[in-house]
């Protein structure tokens, strides 16, 4: 089933979580969710929406307001946002659209719904401090290029700092540290 048809499926009362919008409104970035009056500025100015048939930020905001929690958190399109913040800057109601989407992604991630690329980056950061596995060759080449050595990182201290963070404790350790 395509994304478009998923989000256009008739709404059943049983799938509505009436408190979801309040839960989101209490999270940093989600505060102004209720102000959205569905004008469509976000969607019409969204560069991703221009090239995707399925991705519509206004629709994501509406699903969140309606309390379609499972549907929106399981929606693949949630991960298409490029976080360019055009919508946040232009929303006439001051909804931080990009941040609402980030809040929704964070909630999806807590349920284990995480595209692989994020798992890999998390694993790399825990292992090396850097988001990518920097090839040995690159590190050595810095000398020939006349660049100073890369600052070292302290993975042990990084892991300590991230202890107790839900995402890190669950999905964050599932990534591949291989070179991408």
């Amino acid at each position: 089933m395509t994304e478009t048809s998923t989000s256009r499926k008739p709404i059943k009362a049983s799938e509505i979580d009436p408190k979801f919008k309040y839960e989101l409104s209490r999270m940093p970035g989600g505060e102004k969710l209720l102000r959205c009056f569905q004008c469509g500025t976000c969607t019409s100015d969204c560069p991703v929406a221009r090239f995707s048939d399925a991705y519509r930020p206004r629709r994501i905001i509406r699903m969140a307001q309606l309390g379609l929690k499972e549907r929106v958190l399981n929606s693949e399109t949630l991960w298409l946002c490029a976080a360019c913040f055009t919508c946040t800057d232009r929303c006439p109601q001051g909804v931080e659209v990009a941040s609402v989407i980030r809040v929704l992604r964070n909630l999806a991630a807590e349920k284990g719904i995480v595209p692989q690329v994020f798992k890999d980056q998390a694993a790399c950061i825990l292992d090396s401090g850097y988001a990518y596995k920097i090839p040995e060759l690159r590190i050595k080449k810095r000398v020939t290029l006349g660049l100073p050595p890369l600052p070292t990182s302290n993975p042990e201290s990084i892991c300590k700092a991230l202890k107790g963070v839900k995402f890190i404790e669950t999905t964050g350790k599932e990534g591949e540290k291989s070179e991408q």
Binding site: P28, A82, T86, Y130, I134, N154, A161, K163, F167
Partner: protein, 294 residues
């Protein structure tokens, strides 16, 4: 005025954009900006914000706390790092409860965020610290033959309320920096639009179409080069240009330069010194134009 900064390289630059680092270091040194290496580093946190805001806050605060121990402000080459460090600095300074929570995570490593350092992107340092006048004075080889387009990208400007730099809807800072080299900076359609890089890995199709759109607009005004100030935008354009040309049967042939490479040329440095050889797209035609050969 001499200025001294901690240089925050981020992850993308050491991973695959050496040309940006090489050219930036050379240009900054010549303009009297002294760079000190970070005593210790971790990713700024931005890549993990989509999946865990808390992780992002901790990673950014950790870097800020490390910088605070040196007493130096931070200079970044990546607008993503700059935006993240600025944003977290602001949030944690304003929100005491959150600051305490995040500091709780840092405590075991003997670190504490206090909010005493500022972060600036290189464009901001060049404009505010060095200044356009001094840059113009340093230009010995004005690039008057060259017409270029700029791509300032998203994170140097947006979200407006957090970043508070330039005018996000019609930014002028990079244009002025480009014009200081003697080159003409052309206006084109949708200048402030995203390059597509953040969608890579989630939907390559969307990402490449966004970049293609940019190239089409830049080509329409006959720009001889595209100037970037972000490692991700640069990868998106320079690394993918040939692929986009093939995929959509287009021809662009537009070199993609880091702003410090353009400025470096104007300051009399050679393409070799500025690591032009690290670029994917052929720059020879553009360099010919500069020599006055057609």
């Amino acid at each position: 005025m001499s200025s001294k900064y901690l240089i925050f390289l981020g992850c993308a630059i050491p991973y695959r954009v050496a040309s940006y680092e090489i050219s930036a270091r050379k240009v900054l040194a010549k303009l009297g900006v002294e760079l000190v290496e970070m005593p210790e580093f971790n990713c700024c946190g931005l890549p993990l914000d989509p999946v865990s805001h808390e992780t992002m806050l901790i990673l950014a605060a950790r870097n800020l706390a490390l910088a605070e121990q040196t007493g130096l402000n931070i200079l970044t080459l990546c607008p993503g790092c700059a935006g993240t460090l600025k944003k977290v600095n602001k949030i944690l300074k304003e929100d005491k409860a959150l600051r305490e929570q995040i500091n709780g995570h840092l405590k075991e490593s003997g670190l504490e965020f206090k909010g005493t350092v500022e972060t600036k992107h290189i464009v901001q340092v060049l404009t505010e610290d060095v200044g356009l006048e001094k840059i113009k004075e340093a230009v010995v080889n004005p690039l008057t033959m060259l017409k270029v387009a700029e791509h300032v990208g998203c994170h140097l400007l947006r979200p407006r309320d957090i970043i508070g730099f330039d005018e996000p809807e019609d930014p002028q800072t990079l244009k002025k920096l480009i014009e200081a080299t003697g080159a003409t900076c052309l206006d084109y359609v949708d200048e402030t639009e995203c390059c597509g890089a953040p969608s890579v890995g989630v939907s390559d199709k969307v990402a490449l179409q966004l970049a293609r759109d940019k190239f089409n607009h830049v080509k329409a005004v006959e720009a001889q080069a595209l100037i970037t100030i972000c490692p991700f935008c640069h990868i998106m354009f320079d690394t993918n240009e040939l692929r986009i040309e093939r995929m959509f049967s287009e021809t662009y042939g537009i070199p993609v330069l880091h702003y410090p490479q353009l400025l470096g040329l104007a300051m009399g440095m050679t393409p070799e010194e500025l690591a032009f050889n690290e670029l994917r797209v052929d720059t020879s035609k553009m360099l010919q134009v500069l020599k006055g050969v057609n």
